[in-house]
C-alpha cells in the first residue's frame, strides 16, 4: 500500500499526523478523560450523592456485589439475548434491503427514503408509537386478527415484552444501516462485475466473491457499531417498560440508571458501567478478530 513513492520525510510526517489527529486528541483530553477516570474511580468507592464531599474507598466491594445481585444477573442475560437477537438480524436485513433497493429499477429512491424514515425520529417517540401499537387493542393485534391469529398484550406478557422491544429496535434501525450498506455498495467498481459476467459467474458467485469482500469494511463497521449500541439499549426500555414486567426487560444500562438515579448508589452504578464496558470491549475484540480473519481469508481466495 505504501509504495516507494511516499517521499515525505519522517519529521514532516509526524507533524502532519499530529496536526490531523489534534482535533481528536484535544477533545479526548479535555472532555472525555476526566469523566472517564472520575467514574472509574467512583466504581471503587462508596459514593452517595447526598454526601458528595464524603466518599470512601471500597476496594472491589462494588464489583463483588455484582455476583450476588439478582437484578444484575437478570439484566445481563436480558441484554445478552437482546444483543444476540437484534444485531445479526438487523445487519442481515439491512444488507438484504440494500441489495434489493440497489437492484430494483422502479422507485428505488422512494423505497430508500421510506426504509430510512424510522431512523429519523428520536427513539423515544418511536417507542411511544409502539407502545400504542403493541397495546391489546392496538394495530398489531388488529393485523393478526385479519389472519385469524390470537392477539396479545405484547408489552405486558412476561415472555413477549423483550421480543417486542427487540422487534421494534430492528424496525427502527434497519433503514439506517441499509443506507450505510448502500453507500458501500455504490463504491464497488462496476468493472469487477462486468469482468465476472464475462467469466459467466452466477449472481450468487458475484455476490459471494465480489460484493461481500468489497463491502467487508462496512460490515465490520456496522456490526461493531450495532453491537455497541445494542449492549447499551436504554431509551426503548425506559419508555416502554421500565424493565418490567417482573424484570423481564431490565437491561444493563437501565439497571445502572436505576441504581444511580433512583437508589442513588453512584459507586455501584459506575461498577456496573465498567463491567459493561469490559463486556462490550471483549465482544468487540472477538468480533473484529473473527471478522478480520474472514476478510483476509476471503481476500486470499479471491
Amino acid at each position: 500500500m505504501i509504495g516507494k513513492t511516499r517521499r515525505v520525510g519522517p519529521i514532516e510526517k509526524s507533524q502532519q499526523v499530529l496536526l490531523f489527529l489534534s482535533p481528536w486528541l484535544i477533545t479526548f483530553a479535555v472532555f472525555w478523560l476526566y469523566p472517564l477516570i472520575f467514574s472509574l474511580i467512583l466504581s471503587f468507592c462508596d459514593y452517595d450523592v447526598f454526601h458528595p464531599a464524603l466518599f470512601s474507598f471500597a476496594g472491589f466491594k462494588n464489583y463483588l456485589r455484582l455476583f450476588s445481585d439478582r437484578d444484575f444477573i437478570q439484566s445481563f442475560f436480558n441484554t445478552l439475548i437482546f444483543v444476540i437477537g437484534t444485531t445479526p438480524v438487523t445487519t442481515l436485513l439491512a444488507l438484504t434491503l440494500a441489495l434489493m433497493v440497489n437492484s430494483v429499477t422502479r422507485g428505488s429512491e422512494v423505497f430508500r427514503s421510506i426504509f430510512f424514515l424510522p431512523s429519523i425520529i428520536s427513539i423515544v417517540v418511536t417507542a411511544t408509537i409502539f407502545k400504542s401499537l403493541y397495546s391489546p387493542v392496538g394495530a398489531l393485534n388488529s393485523l393478526l386478527a385479519i389472519f385469524g391469529l390470537p392477539g396479545h398484550a405484547w408489552l405486558v406478557e412476561k415472555n413477549l415484552a423483550l421480543p417486542a422491544i427487540m422487534l421494534m429496535n430492528i424496525w427502527a434501525y434497519t433503514g439506517y444501516y441499509m443506507v450505510l450498506y448502500l453507500a458501500a455498495l455504490k463504491a464497488v467498481p462496476r468493472q469487477l462485475y462486468e469482468a465476472a459476467e464475462v467469466d459467466g459467474a452466477s449472481d450468487w458467485q458475484q455476490f459471494r466473491y465480489i460484493t461481500l469482500p468489497q463491502i467487508h469494511y462496512m460490515t465490520i463497521f456496522i456490526l461493531t457499531v450495532n453491537t455497541i449500541r445494542s449492549w447499551q439499549v436504554f431509551p426503548e426500555v425506559f419508555t416502554l417498560t421500565r424493565g418490567g414486567p417482573v424484570g423481564s426487560t431490565n437491561t444493563l444500562v437501565h439497571h445502572l440508571y436505576e441504581t444511580a438515579f433512583r437508589y442513588h448508589e453512584m459507586g455501584y452504578s459506575s461498577a456496573i458501567s465498567y463491567v459493561l464496558l469490559a463486556i462490550i470491549m471483549i465482544f468487540s475484540l472477538l468480533q473484529m478478530y473473527v471478522l478480520q480473519g474472514i476478510g483476509r481469508k476471503k481476500g486470499k481466495r479471491q
Partner: protein, 271 residues
Amino acid sequence: MKQHSSRQKGLFAILTALALSYLYPWLYMLMRSFMRHEPGQSDGQGLFTLDFYRLVLGNAGFPTYLFNSFLVLTVVLVANVVFSVMVGYAFARYKFPFKNFLFWMVLVTLMVPKQTLMIPLLDLMVRLGMHNTLWALILPFCVDGFNLFLMKQYIQGLPADLEDAARTDGAGEIGILWHVIAPLSRPAIAVLIINTAIINWNSFLFPLILTDSASVRTLPVALAMFSQGPYATDWGALMAGAAVSSLPIIAIFWLFQKEIIEGITSGALKD
C-alpha cells in the same frame, strides 16, 4: 429478458410490502397529531384538528428552542465533517506510536454508557464555566467517535493509487487530504452528515443535564417538557412535536442521499 422483468416485479412487490410496514408507524404518528378520538372509535377515525400543532408551534419559547437546536447542529455538523476526515485519514493511512491504543480510546467513548458520565461531565462543564451555555452542547461533540470510526473504515477501503499518484506529482499531505481523499469520501461524508444530524438533533440526555435555562434549551428537551405530564403523556402534542421536529432531518436526508448514491460513481474511482 422476460425472466429479468418478472424478477423485477417480484422484487418490487416484496419491497412494497416491506415499505408499507415501515411506513405504518409514521402514518400513525401523523394521524394522531391531526386527530381527536371519540369514544368507541378505533384508530383512524376521529375529528381533524390542528390544535396539537398550534400547541407546539404556539409555545412562547418555540423560536428560541428551534434556533438553539439549529445553531448547535450547524456548528457540530461543520466541525464533524472537517475533523472526521482529518482524523479518519490519519488513522487509516499513517503509522504512528500508540495508534491502536488511541483508536481503542475512540471506541471506548462509544462503549461507555452515557448515563455514567452525566455527573462528571456536568462537574467538568461547571469547572470550565461552560455549564448552562450552548458551548457545553457543542464543544464535546465536535469530534464524534462514531464518525471517526466510519471515516477510518471508509478511507481504508479506498484504493491508495490515487494518493500515491498525487504524491508523485508533488502534492503535500494536506493537499492530498482535500483534493484526493475528501472528494473520494463524499458518500461517507454524506452518511456522516445524516448520522450526525440525527443524533445531534434528537440528543436529549446531555442537553437536559448540561443546561438549565429556557434561553439555551434545545428542541427535544422542550418537547419532553410539554408533552409529558406528571401522570400522563399528551399524545397529540408529542406526535405533533415529533412530526415538526423531524422535518429538518428529512430535508437533510433528501439533500444528501443523492451524494451517497451518486457521489462515488461520478468520482475518479472508475479510472
